[in-house]
């Protein structure tokens, strides 16, 4: 089964599975999801074959999150260790957030003191959710995160929805504001934070940094309409994920409008029937 140049035409996707030979290893290089045995490139996961020049990779249709530097992720603190936090980010190992990679109260740039080390739990505690960026990798492949930006840090005022990571494509921005008063953070690891919209100036504060607010554990007051909107968006995401539809702001918005039109209650969205209707209406909208 040899690959020709034209096997990779636009739109033609080759699907393969473990143990299936893709091409000879003389002409091509092996990438992720493949291995070489007796001069053949062989797939090791089930998914689509992708080629960049001479590099052949197989992208698994469903797997854990494979981090890359610069990715935006949403994670949950699992452990507090000396000078570092362990963060579950749906990857093969817990990510590490060093004390030196977070912004601390009292000035963005300052040395970390011993007192900071002693009160690490006042910043992040086990179970806290946060949004961060992948900074680097350790030698064993574990990722190190940082939250050295005002947009990153602890999460509140919302709910977490998890989807398979492959459904989240790289976008220009992973911070999305829907016009219904809901903010979304689409973590590339498949964790999505759906929260109340925060006005821009409030978020940034006067002098740029307000430690109280950044590491606060209390939710703001959220009115019923916003709560309903948050759960509606949350349910839409779950529904789209169960139909394996990649999430983009456009799709979400269309789905949200459709849901509002239907005038059903929020939980109706989780009914199979409603879900089917939503997905088919999305499909028809696309074909127009």
């Amino acid at each position: 089964m040899d690959l020709d140049e034209d096997d990779f035409d636009e739109g033609v996707q080759r699907i393969t599975g473990p143990g299936e030979s893709i091409t000879s290893s003389h002409a091509f290089m092996r990438g992720h999801g493949t291995y070489v045995d007796s001069e053949e490139v062989i797939a090791s996961v089930s998914g689509t074959v992708e080629r960049v020049n001479k590099l052949i990779t197989v992208r698994a249709v469903r797997s854990r999150y494979n981090p890359e530097v610069g990715d935006l992720v949403v994670g949950r603190i699992t452990e507090v260790q000396p000078r570092r936090w362990k963060v579950d980010a749906n990857s093969r190992q817990d990510a590490v957030l060093m004390l030196s990679s977070v912004n601390l109260p009292g000035g963005v740039q300052r040395r970390k003191l011993e007192s900071d080390e002693l009160q690490m739990r006042t910043f992040f505690e086990e179970g806290d959710l946060l949004v961060a960026e992948v900074q680097a990798f350790f030698s064993d492949g574990a990722m190190s995160l940082h939250t050295r930006s005002l947009r990153y840090g602890k999460l509140r005022n919302g709910q977490l929805v998890t989807v398979p990571p492959i459904l989240i494509r790289r976008l220009k921005s992973h911070f999305v504001s829907l016009p219904c008063g809901v903010d979304l953070i689409l973590g590339l690891n498949g964790y999505i934070w759906v929260s109340k919209h925060v006005k821009q100036h409030e978020q940034e504060g006067e002098e740029g940094f307000d430690a109280e607010a950044v590491y606060s554990n209390r939710n703001d007051d959220i009115d019923d309409a916003t709560r309903a909107a948050i759960s509606r968006v949350g349910n839409i995401i779950k529904l789209l994920a169960s139909h394996f539809i990649p999430l983009t702001d456009a799709v979400l918005l269309e789905a949200y409008e459709w849901a509002i039109e239907q005038e059903g209650s929020v939980k109706d969205l989780l009914l199979d029937e409603v879900g089917e209707n939503l997905v088919s209406s999305l499909g028809s909208g696309m074909r127009q």
Partner: protein, 264 residues
């Protein structure tokens, strides 16, 4: 003795109406199970096994990690209602422990564990019904569950049981047949035709063994076809759904009314 069940009658049929080399129906369900990364349910006739895979993920016990590869952790539970006589088997039952460790050591060389240092892959095997060929069903289901979890494997592992009734070999045995005749389990990797697991617990002549062994290897290839088909179907469906979603976006791009602000 007339009450005794005939394993193979004069017409060449077995107690459940199959021919000598006929396998039972294989049903494969690869749908998502809860929060598991991958799962598969397989039934060989009345034997039914559900396997869920979690991981590769952070190991629960740090002392159990290996610095250069992932650890496979297999836990097996047998439902008390899986057999005719209802009996609660403890998890520490030696037979179950042995089977779990056999599954783990079968997959250790097959899974590309070196890609995931210090991680752990949890494989939970639930036996829902048993009617012979239990170990092959567990192995086949584990292969499928690992594939659906996107764990890189060198190849499929396809297992099947075989037995010998006087001089005629049989494939894919039921409990009745397993109790009565010598039998063995063989697991093959279909691409290289190599054997990863062979077990036999009953007396059998070497010459018969040879015959049965070769037959079972062949049957493994047949099972592989079924498994490959199921995996491919699922992949096509998921990729199709994803494509449909993406194409929609491309059209929508023209008149997008979404507020997408880059707040820096």
């Amino acid at each position: 003795m007339s009450s005794r069940i005939e394993i193979l009658n004069d017409g060449g049929f077995r107690s459940d109406g199959r021919k000598q080399y006929e396998l039972r129906d294989v049903l494969i369900d690869l749908s998502q199970q809860g929060t598991a990364d991958g799962s598969a349910q397989i039934s060989h006739g009345l034997t039914q096994v559900l396997v869920t895979v979690f991981g590769p993920r952070e190991a629960k016990m740090r002392s159990h990690t290996l610095h250069d590869r992932a650890v496979l952790n297999v836990e097996m539970s047998v439902a008390p209602f899986s057999t005719g006589e209802r009996r609660k088997r403890s998890k520490a039952d030696r037979r179950i422990l042995e089977m779990a460790s056999m599954i783990a050591s079968t997959f250790e060389p097959v899974v590309q564990t070196t890609l995931y240092p210090r991680s752990q892959i949890d494989i939970y095997v639930h036996v829902l019904q048993q009617d012979g060929s239990l170990l092959p069903a567990c192995i086949n289901a584990t292969t499928l569950a690992l594939i659906t979890a996107g764990v890189p494997l060198h190849d499929f592992v396809c297992a099947v049981t075989g037995g010998v009734h006087s001089t005629s070999p049989l494939l894919d045995l039921t409990t009745v047949e397993e109790n009565d005749i010598p039998h063995m389990t063989v697991a093959v990797m279909p691409r290289t035709q190599k054997v990863t697991l062979v077990t036999m617990e009953t007396r059998l002549h070497v010459e018969r063994f040879r015959e049965l062994f070769e037959l079972a290897c062949e049957a493994g290839q047949t099972i592989h076809k079924e498994m490959k088909l199921a995996v491919k179907d699922r992949t096509v469906v998921l990729v199709g759904a994803m494509d449909a979603g993406l194409k929609g976006v491309a059209v929508d791009d023209r008149d997008r009314d979404v507020v997408m602000e880059d707040r820096i």
